[in-house]
């Protein structure tokens, strides 16, 4: 049984700032984030926002690639059901999200590291609270350490038996 190494994780826990990749849809969540900015709302600076035309553009490969390149969490923001600029894009996102969540769980990635939220252009406060919540949850979980170099180091250092 593998136990967590308290010394390493505890020391990094103190300094650990989660890196969250957020995919925001152009028509709703990105505008909400923009509104949060112009309204001078403050939220955790741990999020790197990627603007896409639709949350339906989020290929599950983007999510896995983010995790594989050092993201500790991935956040997808789209229009409320029924509000999609392209009619159905957010429903596709929802269906993929449900299946991808199961894959991530099987791959040992904690559920709180991957989140989908519907945030309309008016809901600036929702951006703030959802991001703050997620950053806190991921901070508690600690670093994901899935970056290729981490895997390669683990491979190089492993004791063969």
């Amino acid at each position: 049984m593998l136990s967590r190494q308290p010394s390493a994780s505890e020391t990094s826990q103190a300094k650990f700032e989660p890196r969250i990749v957020a995919f925001f849809c152009n028509w709703c969540t990105y505008l909400a984030a923009d509104l949060a900015g112009t309204s001078r709302m403050k939220y955790a600076p741990n999020v790197r926002v990627v603007r896409l035309m639709c949350s339906g553009r989020v290929d599950p490969q983007f999510v896995l690639d983010a995790f594989a390149h050092g993201a500790d969490g991935v956040f997808i923001g789209g229009c409320h059901p029924g509000d999609c600029h392209y009619q159905e894009g957010n429903y596709k996102t929802l269906k993929r999200y449900h299946l991808l969540k199961r894959v991530l769980k099987e791959m040992g990635i904690e559920e709180d590291r991957f989140r989908l939220e519907w945030i309309s252009a008016a809901e600036a406060d929702r951006v703030r609270t959802a991001i703050n919540q997620m950053v806190e949850k991921v901070r508690d979980l600690g670093p994901l350490n899935l970056e290729l170099k981490d895997l390669e180091n683990a491979y190089a250092e492993e004791v063969l038996v």
Binding site: M1, L2, R4, D59, P60, Q61, V63, L64, D65, F67, A68, P81, Y91, K92, L94, K95, R96, H98, L99, L100, R102, V103, E106, M107, G108, I109, L144, L146, L151, A154, Y155, E158, L160, V161
Partner: protein, 335 residues
């Protein structure tokens, strides 16, 4: 097998973590193998001819024209043979799904080494191993020392260990795929390094049921072939079956579909796709008909093992490569 001639290209075959099916695919060339053998000199092929590691060690670096290596890399011996053959070969070709993407043995990346050892040597229902004896890499007896290869924690595809020039996909590659690849390599102009030597479009393109594929198949349930009588003419997706065809490279001439079984994805992704599992997941999930969350979950729950289904042949070669290391394992299902 053939006269040693200095101007014939020298070819080697080797296997690592694999079932032997790729070697079988080479033999399945039948009479065509004679044409291949007439053009090349086989200098190393342990499964069929008597060669030893020291024969390879005594060769000059780069003296083998091409090595076809099948199987994933799991043990220290496989890793060292891969490195040795890489240094002796001008071209290293990954033959078959295991070497290309990790293959079926790569599914071991869902577990860690310790739990696999327990499952195989301590807990199997047909084994009594009260002392919990596990295989050792060193053993001393009567002054003789015996060594066994060590096991890595992670299964890797060939290109995660050494530089690979070309890939021949498939579990196993069909004889036709293999022959076409060999002819390309024997030809005057080599393709760009890293090329997968098979057509670069999805399997649906060469599927005999292509014309019956609806523009948008929809799913209210993902059925399994044993639960139904499968129509032999109609697109399998249209019948509610989980077919990997849309996310899989063509080249096998839809062998499984011709046998009335859905494609399970062994030719891997096309060149535009990095992660086959994520891509087919994206495709199939978005074809679920319902928009209601609970119903979406119910429909998707009819895919009982998403990782084993979407990454059956390619977990090590996928973006995540393996289950997150250091996560406590769920106990393996008891029988």
């Amino acid at each position: 097998m053939s006269d040693k001639s200095p101007d014939k290209p020298k070819v080697a075959f080797y296997w690592c973590a694999s079932c032997g099916g790729c070697e079988e695919a080479v033999v399945d060339l039948a009479e065509a193998i004679l044409d291949v053998v007439a053009k090349v000199d086989i200098v190393f092929w342990p499964v069929a001819m008597d060669f030893k590691r020291k024969d390879v060690e005594s060769m000059a670096d780069g003296s083998i024209t091409a090595t076809f290596l099948n199987g994933a890399i799991r043990t220290s011996e496989q890793e060292s043979m891969a490195r040795l053959l890489r240094s002796k070969s001008q071209l290293l070709v990954a033959l078959g799904a295991c070497s290309h993407l990790g293959g079926i043995p790569g599914l071991a990346n869902l577990f860690d080494r310790a739990s696999l050892m327990q499952e195989v040597y301590v807990h199997p229902p047909s084994t009594i191993n009260a002392e919990g004896t596990l295989p050792q890499t060193h053993y001393q007896d009567n002054g003789h020392s015996v060594e066994l290869p060590a096991l890595h924690e992670t299964v890797r595809s060939l290109d995660q260990v050494v530089d690979v020039d070309y890939y021949i996909p498939g579990c196993p590659p069909t004889p036709k795929t293999f022959l076409a690849a060999v002819q390309i390599l024997l030809g005057s102009e080599l393709p760009v390094k890293g090329t997968v030597l098979a057509p670069d479009c999805a399997l649906c393109d060469e599927c005999p049921r292509k014309d019956t594929k609806p523009e948008k198949p929809v799913f209210t349930e993902f059925k399994r072939p044993q639960q139904m009588l499968v129509d032999e003419e109609k697109c399998l997706l249209a019948q509610g079956l989980l077919c990997m065809g849309p996310g899989t490279r063509s080249g096998c001439e839809a062998l499984c579909v011709r046998g009335n079984m859905p494609c399970s994805g062994c030719y891997g992704p096309t060149s535009r796709v990095r992660d086959q599992g994520a891509k087919i997941l994206s495709c199939l999930a978005s074809l679920v008909e319902s928009k209601d969350e609970a119903e979406i979950d119910r429909v998707l729950s009819t895919i009982p093992d998403p990782v084993g289904t979407f990454y059956r042949y390619g977990l090590p070669g996928s973006l995540l490569r393996r289950k997150k290391p250091g996560v406590r394992q769920a106990p393996l299902p008891s029988r």
